[in-house]
Amino acid sequence: MTARALRAIVGARLRVERRSLAFACASAAIVGFVQPHGVAAITDPLTSDVATRSVWLAGPMFFCSTIGIAIALSQGPGRHAFLDTSERSAPLFGRELARAKALTPVLSATLATFVYWAAQYLSGFAAPPTFFILALACVIASSLVALNATVRTGLARLMALGLAAATIAVAYILAVYADAYSTKSGDAVGVATELIVCGIIAFVALRQYGESLARYDPL
């Protein structure tokens, strides 16, 4: 697959989804501003750290992942039939098409996550960049898992969506609690665990999506 073909697919899909993208960013900005960031007064610094993480990460992880899943589902067949037909009839392998099609929800969800983080920052709750990376990993992984639902029907589709929801939950738990009460390594264990798990999930989900696209029957 040429870089030109990749750009063409991503560009065409982003163009037809521009309203959804604008809506996603606007809602991320609003929720980022209004999300409560208050944490109850806790004297124990380790418990306070966990409480802070749990409150500050909940918004971007759950909200932006939901946006990512919604945008991923909108890539399904039927919504933009002319793009689907063109891409399917092009001489591209399933894995190549999967990578190109996956970039659209990934880029959209990344932008929405960045807008959310920027809104948190501007509202005075300066979330550290690590929180942005943690949230982004969760958003990308869950969006890629949700993409698999677009090429399935019935129970398999529900299962794919369930897996996307489970990905968010697992990523959140790892990000908040993986290194809870650890004084030696700081945040490194929690951050690394969440990033590795999300990376593995994203890789497997993308491969699976490529396989599904290669076998996909448009009829």
């Binding site: 073909a5 063109s86 448009p218 009829l219």
Partner: protein
């Protein structure tokens, strides 16, 4: 004969060949066993009893859908094994018009040219020439045909095209074989 010189590869006898090709979905035979031979440059119209059958047959002929039984060969390739090679040979024109409210014609041609890795300036020039040959056909129907012909396919598969414009379409696709799939009563 010098054994080191590779023998010139003979062109395939048929650009599209179907042998008892069948498409079954949920126990229902949408396309009953079909036999079809299309030589390079040949034109053929195939009549189907329903639009579902026409769509399925056209998609099988363009390697977009796989036959559930029997065999389909496009050029020398089996779409079940080498779909990408088949898609370099066959171009598919869907029944539905291009939604010009979502994408304008120039952008659509550029997009399709990028997917087939056709030089943008060559694609524009070729699209202009082809569009002139399809004069009278509404842009929403003309541009999918133009876009399909820009990469110079060897086989053009048309899913239920507008019957009145078939001579013009065939004229524009002078260099390739054409399979027109129509429903009975529309041909």
């Amino acid at each position: 004969m010098d054994s080191s010189t590779p023998a010139a590869k003979a062109p395939p006898m048929h650009i599209l060949r179907m042998r008892d090709a069948e498409y079954v979905r949920a126990g229902e035979a949408i396309v009953s066993p079909t036999n079809l031979d299309l030589a390079p440059g040949e034109r053929m119209t195939r009549l189907c009893t329903s639009s579902r059958e026409a769509e399925a047959l056209a998609m099988m002929a363009a390697a977009l859908a796989r036959a559930t039984a029997g065999s389909v060969t496009i050029g020398e390739y089996d779409p079940r094994v080498q779909p990408v090679h088949c898609k370099r040979i066959a171009a598919f024109v869907p029944h539905d018009p291009l939604p010009l409210t979502q994408i304008d014609a120039a952008r659509y041609i550029a997009y399709r040219a990028a997917l087939w890795d056709v030089d943008p300036s060559l694609a524009r020039r070729r699209a202009r020439e082809l569009h002139q040959q399809l004069d009278g056909l509404h842009e929403a129907f003309a541009y999918p045909i133009v876009a399909a012909l820009v990469p110079s396919p060897q086989l053009l598969v048309l899913d239920r095209p507008q019957a009145a414009f078939i001579p013009q379409i065939i004229g524009a696709a002078a260099e390739c074989a054409v399979l027109i799939v129509q429903t009975e009563g529309r041909a």
